[in-house]
């Protein structure tokens, strides 16, 4: 019996089905907790799912590569989902046109703040140069952040980790930050979370308000472009 169970496990562990299924189960469990907690930002479903999955892989001695064989099917959907962001963007075109000037200035301010404070604080606290370069594009959506990181001497896969952590932190901290500042305009709330916390922030914004979601997706896209252009320039200026 023991041997048979082991055989089944060995078989399943090699199949993409298992990685895919546990990802969906972990996320839905995370969603369930998130709703039970009254959509409290601290019960972020991505955070809960990631913690549960890392614990599971660690306990079963499964490598990330084996897990990703199955999880890649979920990961793949990031591409078409990014394209689909054109829809909420278009739906809110009218609001964006009206706020073109504030949006542009806020974007540059946010982009520069994100990169310079991330690098500055880590540098003051003695992080290595590789970590600094990997941190710089942390507010940008994953694929672009990895490209920028490579360009400036960071470690792209480490950047991916920082990007996800930033997204989760943004989704968790944005409500408190903006409530403390008494900012109630949905456009500003959405735009700020999109600049600071890319897709994960946008996902949270979309759940709260369509306007906030649209401004968040706009911010995510613009910040990616702005960081890709400004960061190499900033680095050339400072070094």
């Amino acid at each position: 019996m023991e041997g048979e169970l082991r055989q089944i496990w060995v078989y399943l562990a090699e199949q993409p089905l298992l990685g895919l299924t546990v990802t969906l189960v972990a996320y839905q469990a995370g969603q369930w907790v998130y709703r039970k907690a009254g959509m409290s930002p601290i019960a972020n479903p991505v955070l809960l799912a990631v913690v549960a999955l890392v614990a599971l892989l660690w306990l079963t001695g499964t490598s990330y590569e084996t897990y990703f064989e199955g999880a890649q099917f979920v990961h793949f959907l990031l591409g078409p989902a990014t394209v689909a962001l054109a829809v909420p963007l278009y739906n809110n075109l009218k609001h964006m046109r009206r706020a073109a000037l504030p949006l542009t200035v806020a974007l540059v301010a946010g982009t520069v703040t994100a990169a310079s404070t991330a690098v500055g604080i880590a540098w003051l606290l003695g992080a290595t140069e590789r970590t600094l370069a990997s941190l710089a594009p942390k507010s940008v959506t994953t694929p672009i952040a990895m490209g920028i990181s490579e360009q400036i001497g960071g470690l792209p896969s480490l950047t991916a980790v920082f990007v996800i952590l930033t997204g989760i932190l943004g989704a968790v901290l944005t409500t408190w930050t903006l409530d403390a500042l008494r900012i109630r305009d949905w456009r500003a709330r959405g735009f700020a979370i999109g600049v600071a916390a890319h897709g994960i922030g946008t996902a949270r914004a979309l759940q709260l308000s369509e306007v906030a979601g649209a401004f968040a997706s706009l911010a995510m896209g613009l910040n990616a472009v702005a960081t890709a252009v400004l960061l190499p320039l900033l680095i050339r200026l400072l070094w």
Binding site: L24, P45, L77, P102, L173, R184, R189, L208
Partner: protein, 125 residues
């Protein structure tokens, strides 16, 4: 989910990937794909109902799509643990500052240009 529109999203992404490589824009294919779809919608002057539903279906669970990449943190636990003080401080403080600066600049300038705020956020916003 409408199959035709799912295909349209993939075609936009595919064209985006090709454009990204041919023009070497330094932007990922999906972002260019988003711009292509956006241009198409602007030229058409509206979003078809079925596309509206397909996009909503996909975006409703956007955060799920980040889970596989997030689990990648396990490959770097050692490195992150070694420098956890600068990394944690940097990520937390920088994220809060970025949110605050972006929102304050935007609200301040909207106020100056005489633009009315859009909808009061609920407490859980």
């Amino acid at each position: 989910m409408n199959l035709g529109f799912v295909t349209l999203l993939l075609v936009c992404q595919l064209v985006g990937e090709i454009v990204a490589r041919v023009l070497e824009l330094g932007l990922p294919g999906p972002v260019i794909g988003m711009l292509i779809l956006f241009t198409g919608l602007a030229l058409r002057g509206g979003v078809p109902d079925e596309l509206q539903r397909t996009a909503q279906g996909l975006l409703q669970h956007l955060s799920l799509l980040f889970v596989p990449a997030g689990v990648g943190v396990m490959s770097y636990l050692g490195l992150v643990a070694e420098e956890w003080v600068p990394i944690t401080a940097s990520l937390v403080i920088s994220t809060v500052l970025t949110i605050a600066v972006t929102a304050l600049v935007m609200v301040g300038l909207s106020h100056l240009t005489g633009d009315r705020p859009l909808g009061a956020a609920r407490k859980d916003g």
